[in-house]
Assembly symmetry: C2
Homo-oligomer: 318 residues x 2
DNA sequence: TATGATTACTAAATCGAATTAGTGCAACCA
DNA sequence: TGGTTGCACTAATTCGATTTAGTAATCATA
């Protein structure tokens, strides 16, 4: 109740100087000359009073808060994005910033109004990037402040397909989630990258297999697909959920995995190892991408090492 | 660059009144008498200029921002918590607030300093609640602003065990994640609730089965457990990850599920349906708990309907 | 017709920090 | 001795919205 907050004025009074001087000392303003004695008195007073700068006042003065906004499309979740978020959060915290995650799910308040409300230092709009990348065949993101996340997605898709060709497969399909699943946009992006990757390593354009939610429908879809494309010997899945769904359908259809059809997932969830057969998947070091993104938006040098390449977690399904 | 922000002053100038009047109109201050004509001029001017109130200035004046902080322990994720967060986010957005999620993972900056920095309207500290609930056997949370989330966890654990007894099981065990998995604290809470629930429905205290990460170790742990407690015919798992791990171990050990041992999960992840056998699990309407939490912290009436009870997603494993 | 109440507003202070424009004072150079 | 420069600080303004105290003008009442 009565806990009034310790302001700069209090520190000033306690150390016998003006608030301006306190500000100069605490912000290490180099253009101002402050005697070491005063500097010392101010810092100890601040410490003893437990002074914490009031970010809101600071933000009002500076015109921008120390908040970074991450806008995600609705319904997009997964271990990769979680790790990305964590990397972002940690790196931002390391520089005194706070990550605000805005899920597209929010009914009211568009992103623009949230931005006007919070005055964030920067905005990482993955929903925009996803859209961007899906639209043009050039896939050149306008705002490249995502730490290379989308570029990474392309590279990782290449890793996924390459693993299949290295295992001897030459006729490869891509498995996608249903269009109404909320992943539709990202699915188009990934499909685009898969086609690019296939062209790069000299494969024919991969046919696509969309797997419906409903188990019976899914079984039918898979059976039809195998009838239409009998030569396909391996499937690169959009993510592990799609891969595991496919695995369970194939189990029901008595199709041997990887004997008759190999399956590789994406984004290596832990559950994958409990599937039968255990799911081979592509693991992404998304956390380092998050870290890069943080450094990018804060205007810092990106880390010298390039982001870790995707690694294939080899289990049983390929 | 030159895009100066539209302030209240601009609106005042455009409508020929003072900034104070603009504030009164825009905030519907009932203590002040404003003529309908003026009221109209101000609102249209605000609309035409595209005036968006500057939340930071507002926050400085009011001493608190329209931000609500959700503090989560490190490494705690899952569909339940995701849905909880979504419910919270949506309901807060509906009342002009923004949710800031703070993952315990952040290396620098304690929760206290983040609070001092952001001056949030409210803090929902689930890490604290988890600790609280785990400590005393009374499990009476000090801050009950979580919308009944922890209480719900207790109720849902009861649902989980009850489903097993209704299926005819009388000797039930609890499966837990390893202590070093980051879930340790929550695992203790859930175990506490499981014991309470068992007592309530007249079961003996359930033995616990901790399942190590490593597959070989896990297999050994399960075999030893079955040797020590041969009468146990059903296992209530901490979450679906543990349940699915158990399922894959049992598959390797040639133990029939649910024939020789029934398994029920918790928090119904989608992957569960792709396990063999498909995992029966407890689904929680966490979103409505998030919504309740939002209303609680904003000081609004909670919705009249009680939170939806947990439902059992019956598949094959029980 | 003077007094009081009500209406419809405005001026100015406030929140807490950052910053620009000064103000004394001492040292230094010619 | 007068002028310049450097040092160590302070006063006062600013960011944008809220709110208290106050002021004209109108209306009602005695």
């Amino acid at each position: 109740m009565g806990e009034r907050r310790v302001t700069m004025r209090d520190v000033a009074k306690a150390s016998g100087v003006s608030p301006a001087t306190v500000s100069f000392v605490l912000n290490n303003v180099t253009e101002q000359h402050i005697s070491p004695a005063t500097r010392d008195r101010v810092t100890t007073a601040a410490r003893e009073l437990g002074y914490v700068p009031h970010a809101i006042a600071k933000a009002l003065r500076e015109g921008t808060s120390r908040i970074v906004l991450l806008a995600l499309p609705a319904g997009i979740r997964g271990p990769g994005l979680d790790a990305y978020t964590r990397g972002l959060d940690d790196e931002l915290a390391r520089h005194g910033h706070v990550l605000l995650v805005r899920h597209g799910s929010s009914l009211h308040g568009t992103l623009a109004s949230v931005i006007a409300t919070v005055s964030p230092r920067a905005v990482i709009d993955l929903s925009g990037l996803y859209r961007e990348a899906a639209d043009g065949p050039a896939a050149e993101p306008v705002t490249s402040n995502d730490g290379g996340w989308i570029d990474g997605l392309a590279a990782h898709t290449l890793v996924q397909l390459r693993h299949l060709t290295r295992a001897g497969h030459t006729s490869i399909a891509v498995a996608l989630p249903p269009d109404d699943s909320g992943w539709a946009r990202l699915a188009r992006v990934r499909l685009h990258f898969a086609r690019e990757a296939a062209a790069r390593i000299g494969l024919a354009e991969p046919p696509t297999l969309t797997i419906p939610e409903d188990a019976a429908e899914a079984a039918r879809a898979v059976r039809d697909f195998r009838r239409e494309f009998p030569s396909v010997s391996a499937v690169a899945a959009f993510d592990d959920a799609v891969a595991m769904h496919l695995l369970s359908v194939l189990h029901g259809l008595d199709v041997a995995v990887p004997g008759q059809l190999a399956v590789i997932g994406f984004d290596a969830v832990e559950y994958g190892s409990f599937a039968t057969p255990a799911l081979t998947s592509v693991h992404i070091d998304a956390q380092s991408y998050g870290q890069r993104a943080a450094r990018t938006v804060l205007g810092l040098e990106p880390p010298s090492e390039p982001p870790a390449p995707a690694t294939v977690i080899v289990r049983e399904s390929v």
